[in-house]
């Protein structure tokens, strides 16, 4: 198990679990990041934060901190 934030640009993984609570959890689930979903790391912003991910055909950016709370299974 790895965290989403540790994915290298271009690698793919499956979302395993989210240790985020409250409204942010809701928001992240609404964007399609749910256990079992495929996610691909596109790469970080120049400063390293946020990081862009491709999920279900769209690209979203997550804060490094939040991505660190999502565990993934490498494919």
């Amino acid at each position: 198990m790895a965290t989403l934030s540790s994915l290298k640009a271009g690698t793919q993984a499956t979302v395993a679990s989210l240790s985020i609570e409250g409204l942010l959890r809701r928001r992240i689930l609404d964007l399609g990041i749910i256990p079992g979903a495929n996610i691909r790391c596109i790469g970080p912003a120049p400063s390293g934060d946020p990081i862009a991910y491709e999920i279900r055909g769209s690209v979203i950016a997550l804060r490094l901190e939040d991505a660190g709370k999502i565990t993934v299974q490498l494919i």
Binding site: R27, D30, L31, G32, G57, S58
Partner: protein, 274 residues
């Protein structure tokens, strides 16, 4: 299980009162209200303009429509008031724009909902459609950006989607006006002719379904029960999101219900928090 999907019809004057009070909607007599909902940047405003002939500002960035825009069109001699809601991924999140959209869908008593999906990101847009299907059966789904999808080599099986969702599904390319007539026809059938639909309902885990069953009998005695899908209301109480429960309470109060009703909603909510 005894669940009413969708709302009972209320007298036009009462609906008008609600719409004026909450949403400042200037309504002509006998006008059908249709609200447009969808994810950010799926072409809601483009479709709105194409249907109404207005030139509401459109743009390719999320958060462009922060408030509601309204316009009207005539179809088969029936006047429709179209309300363009801000884009939202969910009815359960809580940015200001999303609350505007959510409150209108929940309390605005639209005669029909027009839910726009992005043909190039269908999976993501279906989340909102399923949430709206939990609230109302009076809806039309529109799969927009068909041209973009075509360019990306994506084809959408519209008849299958329609069968799976249980509500009318229309493919459109709002930018060149493709599919508009079909959208208007479907809206007419739903809002005016009361064509029945059978929206597919989400099944939750056994634990959650159990809690819903526990709350349902108590919710169905509320006068407000005729406005909301009781299963949906039960789910919101289970979410325990206080600001939204407050809105529901406010709505119940406006209905001239005895104060006891309002307290009952709060009590049910407190009961869930225990």
């Amino acid at each position: 299980m005894n669940i009413t999907i969708g709302k009972r019809r209320h007298s036009p004057s009462f609906n008008e009162h609600i719409r004026k009070h909450f949403f400042h909607l200037p309504l002509k007599n006998d006008q059908a209200v249709v609200a447009i909902a969808g994810n950010p940047n799926v072409g809601k405003s483009t479709l709105f303009n194409a249907l109404t002939g207005l030139r509401q500002h459109t743009g390719n960035w999320p958060g462009k429509t922060v408030d509601r825009a309204q316009g009207a069109f005539l179809f088969r001699e029936k006047s429709f008031l179209l309300v363009d809601l801000p884009g939202t991924y969910s009815l359960l999140a809580h940015s200001a724009e999303e609350e505007i959209a959510r409150d209108f869908i929940c309390f605005g008593q639209p005669d029909a909902m027009l839910v726009i999906l992005d043909a190039t990101a269908l999976e993501r847009s279906l989340n909102l459609a399923l949430q709206i299907m939990e609230i109302t059966s009076r809806m039309v789904v529109c799969v927009n950006l068909m041209d973009e999808a075509g360019k990306k080599g994506i084809t959408v099986n519209i008849p299958l989607l329609e069968k799976d969702l249980g509500v009318p599904v229309i493919p459109t390319t709002a930018r060149n006006g493709k599919g508009l007539k079909e959208v208007q026809t479907a809206l007419y059938e739903i809002a005016v002719q009361q064509r029945p639909t059978a929206p597919k309902q989400v099944r939750y885990s056994a634990e959650i379904e159990g809690l819903i069953q526990e709350l349902l009998p108590r919710l169905q005695t509320l006068p407000a029960a005729s406005f909301f899908n009781s299963k949906w209301l039960a789910l919101r109480l289970l979410d325990s999101h206080p600001p939204f429960v407050e809105n529901i309470s406010r709505f119940v109060r406006l209905q001239n219900a005895p104060t006891a009703t309002y307290q009952e909603v709060e009590k049910l909510h407190a009961y869930r928090l225990e």
